[in-house]
Each structure stands twice: as C-alpha cells, then as structure tokens.
Assembly symmetry: C2
Homo-oligomer: 343 residues x 2
DNA sequence: TTGAAAGCGGTACCAG
DNA sequence: CTGGTACCGCTTTCAA
C-alpha cells in the first residue's frame, strides 16, 4: 500500500532512525545521506503517517471545534476563520455541531479526546461544572470563543457585548428613539444578557426606562424572532425601534414588520448584532453591531497553538471591541421634527 | 495521564488481550471477567485511543470534507447534514475550505491522507486528471458531492441540474415571461452549465430563443451578481425575468433591481437555485429551485460508510430531483393582460 | 554520523 | 475462556 519509513530506509540503504531524523530535521546527518533520503522520499511519494507519529507522543495536528450549528452563518463564518488560521499552522479542524445540547457536547468531547486532538475551541453553550472541569484537568489546551465562563481558568476570546449593547443604544438614542424594544436570545446565554445590560444602561443614562414587557427572549430561529416581534408590533402603542441580539432575530423582526405593514426604517428602526452575511442580504440591509469574526477565530487558534508550543502558560481573556455598522435599517424616530403625535 | 489498556488490565488482574476483547466484543469472555473489566474501565474513566487502534490497521473514524468555502451558506448547510450523518455512524469530519484553488485542494488532500482519514467527500471544484487519479488509486472511498466527473469511476451524488433548469424555465414561461436573462456561475462549473442547458431547452421548446447577451457568467460573490444584473437592468430593453444559478447571485440581482428602481416581482421576476437560508431572508423571499441538501449530505456519507463496510463496491451515481419552491420573487409578466406595450 | 532497540496503545493470532 | 506476543509506523535515547 502506502510507503512506510521502512520502505524508504531500505531503498536508501540507511536505518529508519536516520530517515526519521531527516524528516524532522533533528540530529546530525551528513548532507550526503540527507540528500539521498530526501530524494528517495520524493521518488516514492512518501508521506509520514501522522497517526503513527502521534502515537509516539507527538501531536495529532488536529483541533476540535464545538459550535451550536455549523449551518448558522455566524458560526460558519467563525469556522472559516478558524480553519484558515489552523491550516496556516498545519492543523486540521474537526467540526462538531452540538445544538447546544449537553448530551451532544459530552459525546463530542469524549470523541475528540479519544482521537487525541491537540486542542479544543469551544464556541457552544456548555454545562460549566461537569464537563469543563474534566476537560481542563486533562491539561489539554482549550479556548472559549464567544462564550464566557467567569469562574474557570480558561483562555477566552469574546467581543465586548456590554459595549456592543451600548453602541446600539447610543445609535438609536441619537436618532431620537425613545420607545425601544429588545429581542434577546435565550436568557441563559450570557453574551445576550450582557448586550442587553449595556443597552439598558445607556437608556438609563438618559432616563429612558426600558419597558420590561418589551424585552422578549427568543430561541434561535428566525421564526421565533418574527413571532415575538409580531407581538411587539401589533399593538396600538408600539416601539419605534427594536434592538435584536443577533442577525437571525433581526430578520424575524424585519419579516414581522413587513407582515404588520410597518415600514423599516421609516416607521421602525432595527439594530442587530453580529454582522453575518444575513445582514447584507435583507432589504433594507441591517444596521448592526459587527463582531470581528475573523480576528476572533484567528486569536482562538493562536491561543491554542501558543499553548501547545509551550510559550504563554498564563490564561488570558481577550476582549475585542465590536463596531457599529450603519446600514439601512435605522432612521430618525418617526415624526421627530413634527409636534408630538400622541397626547 | 490518561488511562491505557495496560492500566485497566493490571487493575482488573487480566491481560490486555482480554481487555481488548471486551472492548470490541470479540472472542469468548466469561460474563464474570467481562463484568469486572467493564466496571474497572468505567471507574478509571478509560477511553481507548483511536490513534493506537488506527495504527493497528483499523479505521480512524474520520472523514474529510472538501468544500469551496464553509462560510458559504450552501456548503455550510451541506456540511451540517454530513456532520450529522457521520456522527450517527461514529465518524468525525474534518472540514477543508479550498476556495476552489487547485493548490489548496492538493495540500488538503495530502494532509487528509497523512492523517489516514477513512474517506473523502469532495464538494469542491477539482482538477480532474492530476489529483483524482492519485486519490482513486489509493483505494480510499471517495464521493463527489454536487460535482461531476463524467469520466472517473467514482461515487457521485448530485441534483439533476438539467431538470432544475427546466423547472425554472417552466415556471417563468407559465407566468408569461418571454424576455428572460440568466446569471450563471463561472463557465467552468458543470452544474451551472447544466442548469442553463435545461433552462435553454425549455425556452427552445416554445420557440423563445435565449439572447446570448443576456447570459452573464459571474464569480461567486453577491457583488458580482449585482454588477452583472445592473448591466441587464439599466437598458431600455430589459428582461422581465432573471434566472440566477444560485441564491447568492439572486441576491445580487435583487439588489440591482432595487438600485435600478425595478420592482420585484412586479416589474421583474427572479428565480434562484439552491434554497439556502438566504432565499428566506431576502425581501421578497426568493422563488427557488431547492436542492435537497440534507439528503445529499446523508447519501454521501452513506456511500462512504457502505464502501468502508465492504458492501456495495460498484460505483454509483445518484441523481436527486430538485424542486420548485414558489415564494415571492416571481409573478406574472408585467402587462400580461394588457395590450402589447411596446411596438 | 549512524543504527539498534525500546516503546507508544492497541489488535489479533495462536497456544494453552 | 484467557494470555503471550508479534506487529502497526514512527520517535528517541544510547552506543558504536
């Protein structure tokens, strides 16, 4: 079948130890043998087996990536960034879609461990206590991406959700909006909570209280965002702006607005979060708080690789700044220049 | 570190051979020893190393997946289907985004081979002769997904692009359109060519010739679709309908229409291809020829697994039927009920 | 500079 | 039923 190190050694008339050395550039080898061995390897089209060398205590050059769903554009884009950077260092990445189910998370982590991956990037919700503890005790490089676990000693790369939320609020406030609703993700998602916290704080700064009945928690589907937005819009007294905690939910809001005959951005402004491809595809295009997905993926891989190379052993938490991207889904509050319309 | 089979054997007071047997359910083991070994394994939290067993000639339980770009919704959705089905059989999947560059394809394939993956699913453009030949000679299960290679003996799963094209044409023709333009992918992409061929044939059936200057080839970006559509729309004599060979291009067309003040679907109908999430997010939502992405992914994995299990060794080509999904981007030809508007 | 040999963690054949 | 043992393909001392 495939050529092995033995075949090369025999063909080159040297020992496998010698071949191994030229492969890895270790030890002292005369230029001459080095040359012949190299030549033979090329001729035989020899490719060392990663499996075998991994067994000898070396690395598998494989990383695991846990996301809720690779088909979700946000995670797909993150995955691409991670893949590129991994590839750059010679690593492959195994994708694992968990649907945020603890059962699946556990199963996947066990699988990755059995396959001796060199590191794991976790971008999925996870049951802190049980699973992570095991994982960290394995002395396996782990980084949390777009997820937080305040109490664990683990490398983390996140966007500053609080700032992101304030940015959204500032923008809407600046446009004169006072009646603002919020579409959040599942309440268990910390990042979403932080976004809302930052958002709420800014409103408080200007004495505009957030109506609690205008804060809706949604699951992950567009449809759910739409339903919740519909509840918001189909009342007399409706908000003039909505802050959606991700692009999917914003799409739902957009659809709800259309169905309710509410014009965006004229009658309703929408700010979303993430800046995935979805934000560019809707009509109007979404004004959004952009997450630097490329940098996030890149950083996560760098952290793993640094740890594998033995440099950097203190855990760090990197917080990237999100950025307001003004597109077409936001505009001045309806009737801003006019006398008050109600009351 | 991690417990090995030796640790378990020692602890259980048996030989590693025995442990190996209970792990794999092979050979005859007394219920009693079986019980203790199992118990010890559980207590020690022992997980056999896939690496080690792979080295012994067994499988790595890993599949490689080559796509042009995992962040492209079409491939992200395919990837999800593949991942689920792989997981079902106990396989992991390594993702490889090639950007359709031969260089990257080669690099990735070499990497996958070194890692001894058990099979490769190719959903990316690829230089037939050079690479595939090598690959197939390796007696490694390979399946082509959403790609064709007419002359190679390789399992293939595709959608019937020709039929898809005709479906699109039928729909548009049925709505009374006679002036139809086409946005195709790069001319080298066979599937796109087939879609156009099927489309063209239907037009020919009713004596409506396709204007060659209304057939535009685009690259993969929304922006390019938009530019080409702009050329189409910003002339006196413009088409009343556009058939876009994928959702991205259709989005571009939609944007071009908006920029040109052309209303979709009133003044312009658009039919796209794929039915990714993008088709549901645009406004109006896209009428599209849906590819059964889930089935495609599932089938591809099944083919690999079947081959690995030794059953089914004759190569097969499975052609799935696409389906017209009518949404909001198509409508009757403008002025259909009215007397001819021009001439 | 080179090579012999001892693993790495399992599998599987063969003897007992 | 159970265990001894020869590999799998490669890395890494340690001698020569």
């Amino acid at each position: 079948m495939k050529a092995t190190i033995y075949d090369v050694a025999r063909e080159a008339g040297v020992s496998i130890a010698t071949v191994s050395k030229v492969i890895n550039g270790k030890g002292k080898i005369s230029e001459e043998t080095r040359g012949t061995v190299l030549e033979i390897m090329a001729r035989m089209n020899y490719q060392p087996s990663v499996i075998a060398s991994a067994l000898t205590g070396k690395k598998t050059y494989t990383l695991g990536l846990l996301v809720p769903d690779i088909s979700n554009p946000f995670f797909a884009e993150i995955a691409r960034a991670i893949e590129d950077q991994s590839q750059h260092y010679g690593y492959s990445v195994v994708m694992c879609s968990t649907d945020n189910k603890d059962k699946k998370v556990e199963k996947y982590i066990a699988l990755l461990l059995q396959k001796s991956v060199d590191g794991i990037i976790i971008a999925t919700g996870i049951d802190e206590t049980v699973i992570m503890e095991q994982l960290l005790s394995k002395s396996l490089p782990v980084v949390l991406l777009a997820r937080e676990m305040p109490h664990a000693a683990v490398n983390t790369v996140v966007v500053d959700d609080y700032v992101g939320g304030s940015l959204a609020a500032d923008h809407l406030l600046g446009l004169g909006h006072k009646h603002i609703a919020v579409l959040g993700e599942n309440i268990k998602v910390i990042s979403s909570r932080e976004r809302i916290r930052g958002f709420r704080a800014k409103l408080a700064d200007v004495q505009i209280p957030m109506r609690e009945d205008w804060l809706k928690y949604c699951d992950y589907r567009i449809e759910d965002g739409k339903q919740k937005a519909l509840q918001l819009l189909q009342t007399e007294d409706r908000p003039t702006a909505i802050f959606a905690c991700n692009d999917m939910l914003a799409v739902g809001a957009l659809q709800a607005a259309k169905e309710s005959g509410v014009k965006v951005p004229d009658d309703l402004s929408i700010v979303s979060f993430d800046n995935t491809i979805l934000a560019m595809v809707t009509d109007p295009q979404l004004t959004t708080i952009a997450q630097p997905m490329n940098e996030m993926g890149k950083l996560a891989v760098d952290l793993i690789v640094d740890e594998l190379k033995g440099r950097k052993n203190v855990k760090q938490r990197t917080v990237l700044r999100p950025e307001l991207l003004i597109r077409q889904s936001t505009a001045s509050r309806p009737g801003r220049r006019l006398p008050k319309e109600k009351k």
